[in-house]
């Protein structure tokens, strides 16, 4: 496949803490092709942020340690690069939109300065050109009075505007891969709609986006494919339509059923998943979902299920699928 952009194989990341070892990502494999928007979904602590931030190597180490695996981006293993080569990729070939713009932007520098810094880190440009480029990007993300706003400090902008500055900063070097970590979680829904419209407009056809979110509505709306994580592992992967209409893993099914639907009026109880997410210090043996799964049987407690392919590009890790598809 020539359009393969990112290929992650058997990635395992652990955190060493005083209380023991946290298994943040276990044996994760997936790939992203050019042009795709892929969602990484799961509940808090499922390992989605650590998985995504491991790609540009932005997970602080220590305490984190990549125990195993490789991350191939445009054919190069990012984990093997030295820090200088990695820096040349970060912010240039891989752009990151962080969740909280108030902490991701420097409070001490003007917006324009910060945008120009991102440009100058990767391109040879005189100040005038950089200024013009930064300004044009502020316009592209629909910040009014871009020229004046270049001189503003982040605290002078609203949360929605700060997030748009972040988007401009992540995209102005036209990266091949955009990693967006819950880019609208801190925003109101009308602003969320604005921000996603901007991201959609700005994303070039040849670039790909990995969107981390817990909002299944957003996933359905803008993503081509979905990766579902539970307890630091990938449990299901498929096209958005496949996963939403035919969820294969009991966790995905439970997750979709827990979402209250808009507009039915006061309704019956929701089908919730019982219990709570297990502690990452001590995941259950076998299938990590076994203590909450309504369909668990003795094998789930003893063995870890492998992936079974249920449709083209749609696979899930559950014993119940054996015989319904091919092992992969």
């Amino acid at each position: 496949m020539t359009d393969l952009l990112l290929d992650i194989k058997n990635l395992t990341v652990n955190f060493t803490t005083d209380d023991g070892i946290i298994q943040a990502v276990t044996d994760l494999s997936f790939s992203v092709r050019r042009g795709e928007t892929v969602a990484l979904v799961g509940e808090s602590g499922a390992g989605k942020s650590v998985s995504a931030m491991s790609i540009p190597r932005l997970v602080p180490s220590p305490p984190a340690r990549v125990e195993n695996g490789e991350i191939r981006f445009k054919g190069r293993d990012l984990l093997a690069l030295d820090i200088k080569d990695m820096r040349a990729i970060r912010g240039n070939e891989i752009g990151v939109i962080f969740q909280d713009p108030t902490t991701a932007l420097s409070p001490l520098h003007r917006i324009g300065w910060q945008l120009k810094e991102a440009i100058n880190a990767h391109r040879q440009m005189d100040d005038k050109e950089a200024q013009a480029l930064a300004e044009s990007w502020l316009g592209k993300v629909r910040i009014p009075d871009a020229k004046q706003r270049m001189n503003a400090y982040p605290f002078q902008l609203s949360g929605g505007m700060q997030q748009r500055v972040m988007i401009a900063m992540a995209l102005l070097n036209e990266p091949d891969l955009i990693i967006a970590d819950e880019p609208t979680t801190a925003l109101d829904v009308t602003l969320q709609a604005q921000v996603f419209e901007i991201i959609r407009e700005m994303k070039r056809n040849e670039s790909a986006m990995l969107l981390i979110t817990h909002d299944m509505g957003v996933v359905y709306d803008i993503c081509d494919r979905v990766l579902v994580m539970y307890a630091s592992e990938l449990v299901e992967e498929g096209t958005t339509d496949d996963v939403f209409t035919n969820p294969a893993h009991p966790y995905t099914l439970g997750l979709l059923k827990s979402i209250p639907s808009l507009g039915r009026g006061r309704s019956e109880r929701l089908d919730s998943i019982k219990g709570q997410v297990p502690s990452p210090f001590n995941y259950p043996k076998g299938c990590r979902f076994n203590d909450r799964c309504p369909k668990a049987f003795d094998r789930c407690v003893r063995e870890k299920p492998g992936f079974v392919s249920v449709a083209d590009g749609h696979r899930a890790a559950c014993f119940l699928l054996e015989g319904k598809g091919e092992k992969s």
Binding site: R142, T190, S258, G263, R264, R266, I273, Q276
Partner: protein
């Protein structure tokens, strides 16, 4: 979760009689003065809640939705007495609590409880769960000290937690469990009315569903009346009977949940609902330009006019009145029948 059988019976009872209004607010105003200079002169007002009126029938849930800064939390806090109202009335069973003597007010406080958004910070980190859930009852002399253990155990059972939790501290629990403890604490006072301020917003969806189920079970079991404040329209449409939409301190639309969600009247409600991404449905969005103006300096005329796709001259100059059509309330010149 216990008690679903008995809850059904009570639920039916409730629906047979025409319920009265338990809580009603009339022209409620909560303004914060902006003070400047050495003399702290008042130079303006932040109109957090500006002339809002609505009623909630006994046993029903009113959903209060709107975006950050629209005044929904202030309204909820004013209702339970955590903020001071400047003007207007809050009627509880027909009596204005703002003009009550403090002693009488005390009893009303017991009957109106509040659940806050952040489950961990609303529990005292230095108190055991047993003491947290029984503190109110002890303060009101509802139980004796030697009954605390037993009562606490019953309360925790009610919210689906084990008795091992009794002698633990809040930090030992997950967000969903802390929210259950908060609910147990509120329910312990045998309230009639509860203000739930973004009570499930901090929780993951699977846990959110559990807590929503718990809240609905308790409501059926005890005939509770809820004001459910949330920015999440899907959650509100699931739990509420009626919904009020706020924008910049004002209520812009009110009606039955299914009606408002399916056929919103006000342009803001229309944009708000179209902006909610729904699994299984890809729709055209109405993208609003710009952001909510500051409540300290609201625009003239209709507060929504700078962002409204249908704005006309009258919207810039005249504040629209709240009008009624069938059982729907809305304030918009463009939808008015009096033009």
């Amino acid at each position: 979760m216990s008690g679903s059988m008995s809850s059904m019976a009570i639920n039916n009872d409730k629906k047979n009689n025409t319920p009265e209004n338990l809580v009603e607010i009339r022209n409620l105003r909560t303004w914060y003065p902006i003070r400047r200079g050495v003399l702290a002169r008042t130079v303006g007002q932040v109109k957090a809640v500006d002339h809002v009126s609505f009623a909630i029938k006994k046993g029903e849930t009113l959903g209060l939705v709107g975006e950050s800064g629209c005044g929904k939390t202030t309204l909820g806090r004013t209702l339970v007495g955590l903020e001071q109202a400047q003007a207007g009335e809050i009627l509880f069973q027909g009596r204005n609590i703002l003009s009550m003597e403090s002693k009488e007010r005390q009893e009303i406080r017991r009957r109106m409880q509040m659940i806050f958004q952040d489950p961990l910070s609303s529990l005292n980190p230095r108190m055991l769960v047993r003491d947290i859930v029984t503190e109110g009852m002890r303060a009101f002399g509802m139980i004796r000290e030697n009954q605390a253990e037993e009562t606490a155990m019953a309360l925790l059972g009610e919210v689906g937690m084990s008795k091992e939790s009794l002698t633990r501290y809040p930090h030992e629990f997950s967000g969903g469990q802390c929210q259950r403890i908060s609910i147990a604490r509120a329910v312990s006072m045998r309230p009639d009315f509860m203000v739930l301020d973004e009570a499930v917003s901090a929780l993951d969806v699977s846990v959110q569903a559990q807590v929503l189920n718990l809240l609905m079970d308790l409501q059926d079991k005890y005939g509770l009346t809820y004001l459910f404040i949330s920015h999440n329209l899907s959650v509100v449409s699931h739990i509420a009977d009626h919904v009020a939409v706020m924008y910049l301190g004002k209520m812009v639309e009110y009606g039955k949940v299914a009606d408002v969600i399916e056929s919103p009247v006000h342009p803001y409600t229309q944009a708000l609902i179209s902006a909610v991404p729904v699994p299984g449905k890809r729709t055209e969005r109405i993208i609003l330009q710009g952001e909510t103006p500051s409540a300290a300096n609201p625009p003239d005329g209709c507060p929504f006019h700078p962002r409204c796709p249908e704005c006309q001259t009258i919207c810039r100059t005249t504040v629209p009145r709240l009008e009624q059509a069938d059982d729907r309330l809305f304030s918009c010149h463009m939808r008015s029948q009096h033009l």
